[in-house]
Symmetry: D2
Subunit: 344 residues, 4 copies
C-alpha cells in the first residue's frame, strides 16, 4: 500500500500516518521528495485499511499494491485447480460442454432434450428449477419438482447436473439433487448465500455479475473459499455496457486474466453473454480458443415455445454442429501447444 501525501503536507500529518501504520502492524518506508512525501506500508491490506488511511488529514490518495484476494490467487497456489465431478474433471485440458434449456419446464420435455444432448456430446446438463426473474409476473420455475426431474435426467444419461441456487435457506436441498451449484450473476455479491455455500461439499459455479469487475468476482470466490469450500468454478457471462445489439458484452479477455490471477477453472456462457442464438457458435469457439475450461450453452427442442431465454437457445441440430467444431478446435489448439514458449 502506497500513501501519497498532499503537496506540502507537514511533518505532523506525515507523523500521524506513519504512527498509525505502525500501530496497524505495517512496516513503513518513507520517501520524501521535493514536492511530495510518499509512504509505503507493507502489511495486510483490506478495504477498511485503505479507507482508513484515505480519511487521514494530509493524505491525497492511497494506492493498493497487492491484490485483495488470497486463497484464490495464483501467488498463493501456483498449481491449477482441477475439480472432480463424478468421473469428469474441470480445469485440466478438457473443454466441458454443459448444455440444456434455461429452465426445467416439464418432465417429458427435459428427459427428451437431455437424451438428445448426451448423444450430441454434451458432458453435463443444466436446467433451472428456481428462476430469479426480472419481473414478478414471469415464470418462476418448477422448484422442487424441477430438481427431481434433473435427478432423473442424471440417472438416465449418466451426466452430472448443474442448477441454480438462489436462496440461502435451501442450500442443502439443492445440494441433495445437483452435482454443481450455480450462483447466478445477480447473486454474485449475495454474501450470505456465498457463506452458506462455503459449507457445502459440492462444487460451486460462480457467475460474474453483469457489472462486477474481475477483482470483485474473485473476491466473491474468496468468500466461498474462506468459508470452507475450495471447489469454485468461475463463469464469465457478459458484462453490461452501452452496446445495445447484444444483451451483454461477453468479456472473453476474462479467460486469460482469470488464468493469470487465479488457479481456478473458468468457463464461459455465450448464451447469456450475447442473448442471440446466432452468436452462440462464434462466441463459443472464441472462448475455447482463448483457453476456457468449458462452455455453458442453452439448448431447447423448440426455442419459440421456451418459457424463458428462447431467443438465445440453440436448436439441438445446431448444438450438434457446435460440439463437433469445439472438438476439432480443441485438437488443433492442443497440437499448437508446443509452440508456446513465451518470452517475457
Amino acid at each position: 500500500m502506497i500513501i501519497v501525501m498532499e503537496k506540502n503536507a507537514g511533518h505532523e500529518k506525515i507523523g500521524q500516518v506513519t504512527s498509525k501504520l505502525e500501530s496497524k502492524g505495517f512496516q513503513v518506508h518513507l520517501s520524501e521528495g521535493v514536492e511530495r512525501t510518499i509512504i509505503g506500508g507493507i502489511g495486510q491490506r483490506t478495504q477498511e485499511v485503505i479507507e482508513l488511511f484515505e480519511s487521514l488529514p494530509g493524505v491525497e490518495k492511497v494506492v493498493p499494491i497487492l491484490n485483495p484476494f488470497k486463497l484464490a490467487s495464483r501467488e498463493f497456489k501456483q498449481e491449477t485447480t482441477t475439480i472432480q465431478v463424478d468421473n469428469q474433471s474441470i480445469g485440466d485440458l478438457n473443454v466441458q460442454i454443459i448444455a440444456g434449456p434455461c429452465a426445467v419446464e416439464g418432465r417429458d420435455e427435459y428427459l427428451e432434450v437431455a437424451q438428445m444432448l448426451k448423444e450430441a456430446g454434451a458432458t453435463m446438463l443444466r436446467g433451472g428449477a428456481f428462476k430469479p426473474r426480472t419481473s414478478p409476473y414471469s415464470f418462476q420455475g418448477l422448484e422442487r419438482e424441477g430438481l427431481e426431474i434433473l435427478k432423473e435426467a442424471k440417472e438416465i444419461t449418466g451426466l452430472p447436473v448443474v442448477t441454480e441456487i438462489v436462496d440461502p435457506r435451501i442450500v442443502d436441498m439443492i445440494a441433495d439433487f445437483a452435482d454443481i451449484l450455480q450462483v447466478g450473476a445477480r447473486n454474485m455479491q449475495n454474501f450470505f448465500l456465498l457463506k452458506e455455500l462455503g459449507r457445502v461439499k459440492k462444487p460451486v459455479l460462480l457467475k460474474r455479475g453483469p457489472s462486477a469487475t474481475i477483482e470483485e468476482w474473485i473476491m466473491a470466490a474468496e468468500y466461498i473459499m474462506s468459508s470452507g469450500n475450495k471447489n469454485v468454478i468461475l463463469c464469465e457471462r457478459g458484462i453490461r455496457t452501452f452496446e445495445k445489439h447484444t444483451r451483454n458484452t461477453l468479456d472473453i479477455s476474462a479467460v486469460p486474466i482469470i488464468k493469470q490471477l487465479t488457479h481456478l477453472p473458468i468457463i464461459v456462457d455465450p448464451s447469456h453473454g450475447t442473448g442471440k442464438w446466432e452468436l452462440v457458435e462464434p462466441m463459443t469457439l472464441a472462448a475455447v480458443a482463448a483457453g476456457c475450461d468449458g462452455v455453458m450453452v442453452e439448448v431447447h427442442q423448440n426455442p419459440s415455445e421456451a418459457l424463458s431465454d428462447g431467443p438465445q437457445s440453440l436448436k439441438p441440430n445446431n448444438f450438434n454442429n457446435l460440439v463437433k467444431k469445439v472438438n476439432n478446435l480443441r485438437i488443433a489448439l492442443q497440437a499448437s501447444k508446443g509452440e508456446s514458449v513465451v518470452e517475457v
Copy 2:
C-alpha cells in the same frame, strides 16, 4: 408489442405469428408494407412473451411498447404516494435528511453521533448492523447488538431509524427494530428477499443496483409491491461507469424520471454515489434542486477511524452546514413553484 417480420417473410410465417398472438389473448393489427410486414399485438406483455415471439421463425425483432411495471406506474396510480414513518412523511413537499455512520460500530459512539445529528437537523438516522462487504476479511457489522443500539438511539432522539436487510431469514427480526428496511444496491435483484419484504408492514427503502437500468429498478419495486407491501421508497446511489474519479456516477436524472414514470418517493445517497466527502455537499444540493424527496448522507465523528466508508463520510460540522443549505434551497425552490406551468 410490435413484431417486425424479416424482409420478405412469407405468408406462412406471418400466419404463425398472428395465430400465436391470438392464442395468447392478444388483439392483432397487421400492417403489410412493401418490404416488411409489421404486426401489432395488444395485450399483456411479459418478458416471456417477448422472447417467445422473438424466437418464432421469420421474426426480425419484437419491440415492447408499454412499460413492464404496473403497480408502481404513474399510469396505474396518478396520485403521488406519501409514506408515513412515525409522525413524518416521505413523498410530499419535505426533504428528508437521513444521516448516520455507514455501520453501527459501538453503543457510545452511535448514541453520541445520533444526538449530534438530531441537533444539526437530521430527520432520520441510518446505520448498518449487518454489512455486506466486498471482502470476507472486512468488518461484517455488529449484527443483533447493532440493532439494539439503533433502537436505543431512536428512543433517545425520537428519530426513526433505517437499517439494511441482507438475508431473507431475518426479515422479521430487522422489522422489529427498524422503522425503514433498506435493501442495498447489491441485493436489488435478490428476488427472494424482495418477496419476503412484500409481507412486512414497514416501508422498504430500495437502492438502485450499480448496473441496474431504471426499468429494472422499478421492476424490483414491483416485486415488493406485488407481494403485498406498497410502501416502497426508491434510492438512487450511483451507477457504475468508466469514470474512475468517483466511486460511482450519481445519476441525478433518475429523480425526475422516477417522478414521471412512478408515483413512488425517491431519495438520493450522495455518499455512496460519489465515494468522496468533498463531493457530498454539492451533490446533495443538486439532488434537492432536481426534486428528490430526501437524501441519505453518511456522517461520522471521526471519519479516519470509521470501520467502513470513512472517505465518503462528512464530519458533524460539515453536516451541520449542509443541513442549513438544504433548508435554504428548499425554501427557494418552493417559492419558485408558482412559475412552473409547463407547456407541453
Copy 3:
C-alpha cells in the same frame, strides 16, 4: 510515479529500473519489503514514461502519482480563471445562460428566437452552422450562411454567440464570426483541431466526449492551453452508460471535481445530457446547485419542426420559466455561501 516490482524480482531487474529512472532524470527512492520491492521515481511523468517502465522486465505495475496536466491544474494556478466575453464574464459568481436552437435553420427563424431568448433572460446565444451528424443523410448545417445569421443576431440582440468548429481548415473563418468557439463532444480528442484552436484569440468551449474520463477531458484542455490559448471553458454534456432512458447520463459530479482539479470555468448542457426536454429544467437546477458557471440549453420556437434535436429542445415559454427559477436559485445559493467554512 511508483514502480511495483514482481514478487521476488532479483537485484538485476531492480537495478535496471533504477538506472533507467536515473537516466530519465528521476530521483529514485527504493523500498525493499519482505515480499516485494517498491521504487518511487520523482520527476516528469508522461504516458510514455509510464509505459516504458511497465514494459521493463520484473515490473508488475506502474502507478502514476501526480496528475498528467499542468497548465489547467489548480496546483499550477490557484486562482480561478475568469473569462471575459464582451462585457460579460464566465467563471466568477454569475451563471451564464447560453440558449438557442441546435442548428441555425434560417435567417427569420433564428432572429425571431434570438429576440425571444434575450427577452427571457438568456445571456448568450448558441446555434450550429456546421453540424457533425451521425448520419451522412442528415441535415449538415447552413455553413457560412449560418455564421452570417449568427453575426446578425448578435448585432440585433447584443448577446455574444457560441458556435461549433468541426474542421481545422476553417478555424479562422469561425473565429471571425463567433465570440466563443465550441469543440463538440465527438471532437474532444481531435488533437489537430485542438492545436489550431491554441493560436486563436477567442475563448474555446470544450465539450466532454461521451466516453472521456475527466482526466482525458482536462488533457484536451491542456492541448489548447499549451498551444497558446488559455481561455478554455469546459462543458459537461453527459457520458455514455448502459441506461437507455436518457440519451446520456449527465455527470453532475464533474462540476465540483473540475472546480477542485482545475482553475477553469465549467458549464453544463442538460439538453444533450438527457435528450428529453422534460428533464432539462430539473437537471439545469441541479447543475446550478452543484456550482456550475453556466448552462447551455437548446430552445426552439417549434420543436416538432426542428431540423435536429427537437425532442430535447425547450419551448420559449418553458425557457422563460427556467430562467426565473435559475435566478431565484442563484440568489438562494449565494445567501448560503456564508455557511460553508468547510472543516477538512
Copy 4:
C-alpha cells in the same frame, strides 16, 4: 418506424401525426387499440425524421424499425465485399496478419522489425507516422519522415503498409505513401475527415470508437461509402467499460454481428483492445475463431524502449509463435466449415 401515441391521445393529435407522415412521403398504417393508438410509417427513416415525430404533441415514443445504414448493409448487397491490396485480399477466407510497432520511431529500427515480421509471416505492415496522443507532451510521431520510412519498408519487404490519417488537410499526402489509410478510434466520428476519405482511391481501415455502438460505427463507414469510397475495412479495438484490468474490453461479438449486418470485412486489434501483451495471443486466437478477416498486432523489437504502447507490444519471438498458432487454427476452422448447415 412505429409511432406510439400516449394513452388516450385524442383524434386531433393522431390526425396531426398521420398528416405529417403523409406530407413526408410515408405510407401510414393505423392500429387503434383500447388503450393506445399505434401508427406505422413506412418510408425513408433518418434521425431527423425520428426526432421530428418524437417532438409532436401526443407522441409517447418513436421506434425505428429499419437500420439507418444502406450502402454498408447486407440487405443492400448480399455478397461479401473482398478488398484487394496489391496481390492480397481482405474479406475472403484469408486471415490477414498486420503487424508492426505502434509508431515509426526511426529508419533502422523500422526496417529491421519489418524484415523480422515478414519472415515470421506477417502479411502487412503497420506503423504510425502522425500520432494522436492523449497528452500534448507525448511523442507526436515522425510525420512525413515516418511516411518515407514506411514506403522504404514496403519496397524492401513487398508487404503493403497501413498508417493512420488524423488530419483532413493531408489525406492526399498519406494516400501517396500508404496502401491502407487507417482512421483511429478517436476520429471515428470526425465526419469531415471521413468525407475526405470518400474521394480517395485507397482502402480505409475504420477503427471503432471506444464508446461507439455498432450502429454508429457502421454509420461512419456509410459516410465514407456515400462519399465515393466503397473499400472500407472495419476494425474492432475494444470498447470502454468499467473493467479496469484491461485498457478496453475487446468486443469479439462485433465480429459475427458485423458479418450479419454488413458485407464489409472486419479485423480485430487485440493490442489496443487489451493493453497488455500477455493477452494478445489468446485474444487473437479468439478473434480468429469468431471469424474475423484479419488481426492487427503491435510488435516491437524492444518493447521497453518503445516510444508508445510498449506494454501491449509483442516481442518478435512471441509474434512468431502467434503466427504459427493462427495458421493452425485457420486450417482447423476451415476443415470444420462443412459441419455448419445452420438450422434457423
